[in-house]
């Protein structure tokens, strides 16, 4: 498995993060140091303005017996927040979701949009979370929010300013405009 990491301009990806496989970061993404993203089964495409915090793990896990498949893409939508220590193996992730600290989302879970997986919640069964679902509390109760969670624009702007001061960054290596011009 070769690492093929595409970073769009304006995204901040720290060098100390662990990235394996074919991963594409759209513009505006922020990846903290010691975050882990592993594309085992197929490429991962992360949408715009996502935040992946420290010790967060996003895995596109290989099913037993399967092998690397370029067409099996895990696409993660925009404006998602992966908080400290979360472990996400979901098969599909939409927009504006929040994975709170130390939560676990197993493979086979399909997260739509505007969902919040509360701190420490473990979702293991294959299921589909409808839009605006909020899973919270010790008993993992579900409720439906009236609107999607607000985007973290202020936080992203702040991180984009602060992270380069203290960390080495991976250089953005892919410019869609240039790529188009080449084609």
């Amino acid at each position: 498995m070769e690492s093929n990491i595409k970073i769009f301009p304006k995204s901040v990806v720290c060098e100390e993060s662990t990235l394996r496989g074919d991963i594409t970061f759209s513009s505006g993404c922020v990846v903290h140091p010691s975050a882990t993203i592993i594309a085992e089964a197929g490429p991962i495409i992360i949408g715009e303005n996502c935040i992946v915090e420290e010790y967060a793990t996003i895995t596109h896990r290989l099913q037993p017996g399967a092998s690397w498949d370029v067409n099996k893409i895990l696409s993660i939508g925009g404006h998602n927040v992966f908080e400290v220590g979360c472990n996400v193996e979901a098969s599909r992730i939409g927009d504006k979701n929040v994975f709170e600290s130390k939560c676990y989302v197993g493979s086979g879970v399909s997260v739509s949009s505007g969902c919040v997986i509360g701190a420490g919640i473990q979702i293991c069964m294959a299921q589909q979370l409808p839009e605006n679902t909020i899973v919270y509390g010790q008993q993992a109760l579900q409720r439906e929010a009236i609107e999607k969670q607000g985007s973290q624009t202020l936080q992203i702007d702040f991180l984009r300013k602060v992270l380069p001061n203290y960390h080495h960054l991976r250089k953005p290596n892919y410019d869609p405009k240039k790529a188009r011009s080449v084609v």
């Binding site: 509360g118 919270y136 109760l141 409720r143 439906e144």
Partner: protein
Amino acid sequence: MSFMQPSPVKYACSCGILNPINKLFFCRHCPKLRCGFCVSHEIESNFCSNCLENIPSTEARHKKNCCANCFDCPCCHHTLSPRATAVPVVRKSEESKDKDKEGESGADSSPATPSTKPSALPTTKKMYYLSCLSCRWTTRDVGIPDQGVATGTWPDNESLYQARFNTLMEYYQSLVLQEKQEKQEFQRRKAPKHNKYPSLTDRTGLTVSLIRRQIGWSDKNLSKTKPVNITPAEASAEVDDLPADIFTQPINLRSITTISQRHSQPADQPEAVNKLYPQRRSLWIKRSLRCRQCEHNLIKPEYHPTSIKYRIQLFASYHVPEVVMVRCEQPLQPGQANAILLKFTNPTMFDMTISLLETAPQEVLQQACRIKEEAVTSSPLLKATGVTLSRQNSTREIKREVLDVANAKLVPLESPFVLSQRDDSKEFDEDVQAPSEEPKFIVWRKANKVLLRLQFTPDAELKPGQLVTLGFYMQYTYVNTVSNTQDKKDPTTHALHSRIFIESGSIGN
């Protein structure tokens, strides 16, 4: 050593309930062990645990024991926190266009609008809504408009039955008043007033009512306040039928409230989540504990809500030697001799002589009783205030037999042993004490701690898996620095005892 897990060593309280030492109190005036069950609990102060505001008890009662400013989430019962948002304020020219939006965002937003400012700069105003950090519930979810100030203006959700509750309360209040007045009237008629100083009218046999009658006034009757009539509630056996679509449509559980959500909103107990409203946060209390026998305070917290200290703290672990089970020497087998290592710690500033006994020391018991009696009669508090004796009688101590039984035979220790006083500076001493003549059962001794070896034999008929419980009476000398009588100044020494049960473990297979 037994932090965050149940302690194997339990002390029998003077009321007969077994407790670990950290749940027991020690009344210095009786002197006896007390537990939370056999002391009277009193409310020291009411406060809100969120904003830490102290609220006097009358005000707390008036506010139905709820905080005026803090709210709980109706969804997950966490505290709601106010969130500020910047709302663009509509300028005069656009006001007519966005009238409906204006009405929604609170009435006080229009006066703040700088109508005289014709600039094109968009003005914003801070608006607040309440949000739960746990389940992300917000007041916007149920359509409560944002407020211009963070606290104080949140609307109370009036329940459907509020008027009914109010009339019922009014009725019963007037009923209580009436009964009280009737009782007073009855007592006045029954027993003529025994005034300390006889008045002139008493001498001459003239009472106020007699005089009133002589003058020709009517008898004043205050007591004839008739309570307003209430309509009694009617029970009906008719229950609305289930809606027809409940059998055909899948139920959306997300729109239905849980039982705990309904119970947290007891006035209307809504069935749908869109009827959940923020609940005012219940007040907490600071509690003081009082010994029921001698009416002395055992625990008295500091008044201020932010303080976690006590003014009076008679926890048992400050006065009674602590017993900690270290280990058994061998695996527990029925009928096989074994030994247990116990660590004794002296928490007081005086040396203690401790002996472990199999039966209760009889004369000590009587002595303790006598001291208690003395304490009751000579308590300065009782004398000074003349505390109602009826209350005393109602809380007379009921002796309860300790039902727990030991199922192991102990080999009694040959002699009592001395536990030295607690000396905090000794902890840092380098020099080792010169080894002195020690009884054989003492394994080691350091400062105020003694590790001793107690031999025992579990009963022969115990089955595998059964708990082996050791039981003994620990007699210890206790130096009481408070004296019940005023003339005594020297600290008195008591020989006290408490019954201790140790769960040493279960019989091995």
